[in-house]
């Protein structure tokens, strides 16, 4: 019996573990090693060059532009998404007034939630192509066409270097809000109703309910949201690659690290250098996640 049990365990685990180690774990480990070589071109013989790739990164303007863009994304995108999502999920779940002493959602909240979540299931690449048409710089673009109706001249949403990154952030927010509305709704529904009931009996208004009760009790969920959005801010590959002018343009004004990694590796065949960027991205992501969880840690409120 015992023998059969171990045979079963090994038999069930062998295939998934082998597949996972070959295609996921081993590439991750190899990346660190490759980042220390000068590997260029498919057949060339890579040599160990220590940290040279990393010191070259320090002087690489495009790399720094990409890092700056991650900084902007990291500050703006999560903040805007969370504020909009919190606002809508509060409206959907708690603004319907009190019925029998209970806070209720607004009429039709189910339908709204289904609609809001929709962009989340669309492929980012498809969304990118779609917004290319919407952001078109002449009056045939949807936004510029609408602006034209009220007499505003067409805006170069994606071709103006000062505007392009913001236009891309807009699309990221457009796609992400629904997910966080659903996430925060789940969080709000887990807050016991008697908390709101008690507050309402004490005469708390809608604003007090939101800022003094809902927000603090939703802290854990918001922390998770911030980490998720932050990790998304370190990605942005598909959207920038598809949507931006010249892939990361104009003039590198929208480029991000994943795009540079992909371009350096598969357009310029500089595999060592691309892997070094990958390692930097890895440490940036991990540091961000650890920092966020640490800085925002609060006493858990049990209920």
């Amino acid at each position: 019996m015992r023998h059969g049990r171990y045979r079963f365990i090994v038999g069930f685990l062998a295939a998934p573990v082998i597949l996972y180690v070959v295609f996921v774990i081993s590439p991750y480990l190899q990346a660190f090693q490759i980042s220390l070589t000068n590997w260029k071109g498919i057949s060339a013989n890579p040599q160990f060059i220590g940290l040279e790739n990393y010191s070259r990164l320090l002087d690489d303007e495009v790399f720094w532009a990409a890092v700056r863009h991650h900084g902007v994304l990291l500050l703006v995108m999560p903040l805007v998404t969370i504020v909009i999502a919190l606002f809508f999920s509060f409206l959907l779940n708690l603004s319907g007034g009190q019925r029998g002493g209970q806070m209720t959602g607004i009429w039709g909240s189910k339908v709204y939630r289904v609609i809001f979540f929709l962009p989340q299931v669309l492929a980012v690449a498809i969304v990118g192509v779609l917004f290319q048409a919407i952001y078109r710089p002449d009056e045939s673009g949807v936004i510029n066409g609408l602006l034209g109706l009220v007499g505003i001249k067409p805006v170069g949403w994606l071709i103006d270097p000062n505007l392009a990154l913001w236009s891309i952030i807009g699309v990221m927010v457009w796609q992400a809000v629904g997910f966080y509305v659903v996430l925060f709704s789940a969080g709000m529904s887990s807050i016991p109703k008697d908390v709101f009931e008690a507050a309402a009996l004490d005469g708390a208004g809608r604003y007090t309910l939101f800022f003094k009760i809902t927000l603090p009790l939703l802290w854990d969920t918001m922390q998770v949201a911030w980490v998720y959005l932050g990790i998304a801010a370190f990605d942005a590959f598909a959207l920038v690659q598809v949507l931006s002018v010249d892939r990361g343009g104009p003039d590198n004004s929208t480029t991000v690290l994943p795009l540079e990694i992909w371009r350096t590796a598969f357009n310029f065949s500089k595999f060592g250098y691309a892997s070094a960027m990958g390692v930097v991205l890895f440490f940036m992501t991990i540091t961000f996640a650890a920092l966020t969880l640490r800085v925002t840690r609060r006493e858990r409120i049990e209920f």
Binding site: G4, R5, G11, F12, L13, P16, V17, Y20, F23, I25, S26, Y28, I34, F88, L91, S95, G96, G97, Q98, R99, G100, G105, I106, W107, S109, Y112, F117, L118, V121, L122, A123, V124, A125, I126, V129, L130, F131, A133, E139, S140, V142, G145, L146, V177, F179, L183, T221, A225, F237, P258, I261, W262, A265, F266, F271, A274, S275, L281, F282, I286
Partner: protein
């Protein structure tokens, strides 16, 4: 669910609340109207671009480059036909259906096997293997990109659907194993034990007892994987990057049409292609929206 309370009839409408309630109700009217306005505006922002794409597939190039806010003058499916034949979107669709069907099936088979063993059996190394899988959820895939390309190439699987299927499966395993082992843990142990007492083998217990019992969890994570793999963009452009246009998947195919499209291009065809990529996902979403919403957010809530 949060909304269930919204549809419950008022359970206590004591007369004691009568007067202040009405006053509150009047305020609620204005606030409620503003709330609906805000929600409606966002709904239009969400649906507008998608609807505009559908309509665009029926317009002519002139209509598209004229006023963007008009309805098409005639409704015919010419652009859809061109997208399927000339732009190969039909081929890309078939490829994607094939790849996603295979890789989701393989992900579910391997993922549920691993999750079952890791959640129900104690053996040395159990925790280590579990954390090995779960840690994969946190790493950025871009770190692995270069070595992954060469691993697949050295196995002779670059530019093949089989290679893409294996890689999709491998990268879907972390979340699948994480989600399903949590799910298997919630199932009662007694049924499986009773089957074993009756002489049922471990393997048979799994396939004939545990899998049917885990059906709700398996369904949510299957839909999650189908959507995730259908929408994948990075892996296809890296793994099918050679001169193999006939093997391309839908996202990379459409992105490529749009990259190559100048002002001479067939815009209605592009919009038809976009619609074809969006519609299957939307149908799956509308049918399974409850499972999708809970499945996608459950990873965050836990």
């Amino acid at each position: 669910m949060a909304t269930e309370t919204a549809y419950k009839p008022a359970s206590r409408t004591g007369s004691a609340h009568g007067r202040p309630k009405r006053k509150r109700g009047d305020q609620m009217g204005a606030f409620g109207a503003l709330s609906h306005l805000a929600l409606l505006v966002w709904s239009i922002l969400v649906i507008g671009p998608i609807l505009w794409t559908f309509l665009g597939s029926f317009k002519t190039n002139t209509e598209i480059f004229g006023d963007p806010i008009t309805l098409p003058s005639t409704y015919n499916w010419d652009a859809w036909g061109r997208a399927i034949d000339k732009a190969h979107v039909g081929q890309y669709m078939l490829n994607t259906v094939f790849v996603v069907a295979c890789s989701t099936a393989l992900t579910m088979l391997l993922g549920s096997m691993a999750a079952y063993v890791l959640s129900r059996y104690t053996f040395p190394g159990n925790r280590a293997i579990y954390f090995l899988f779960v840690s994969g959820m946190t790493f950025p895939v871009f770190l692995a990109l270069v070595p992954l390309f060469f691993v697949v190439r050295n196995l002779g699987l670059i530019d093949t659907h089989f290679g893409v299927i294996l890689v999709y499966t491998a990268y879907s395993l972390p979340f699948t194993v994480f989600f399903l082992s949590a799910f298997f843990k919630t199932l009662p142990t007694s049924v499986g034990e009773a089957a074993m007492m009756d002489g049922c083998s471990h393997t048979r217990t799994f396939f004939q007892i545990m899998v049917p019992m885990a059906k709700p969890g398996l369904i949510s994570i299957t839909i999650f994987n189908i959507l995730g793999q259908w929408n994948q963009y990075l892996l296809p452009i890296v793994l099918l990057s050679g001169n193999v246009e006939d093997k391309w998947l839908i996202t990379q195919g459409i992105a490529n049409i749009s990259t190559n499209a100048g002002y001479e291009a067939d815009w209605p065809g592009l919009f038809a292609a976009l619609s074809m990529a969006i519609i299957p996902v939307m149908i799956i979403y509308i049918i399974f929206q409850r499972q999708i919403q809970s499945g996608l957010t459950s990873g965050a809530v836990k």
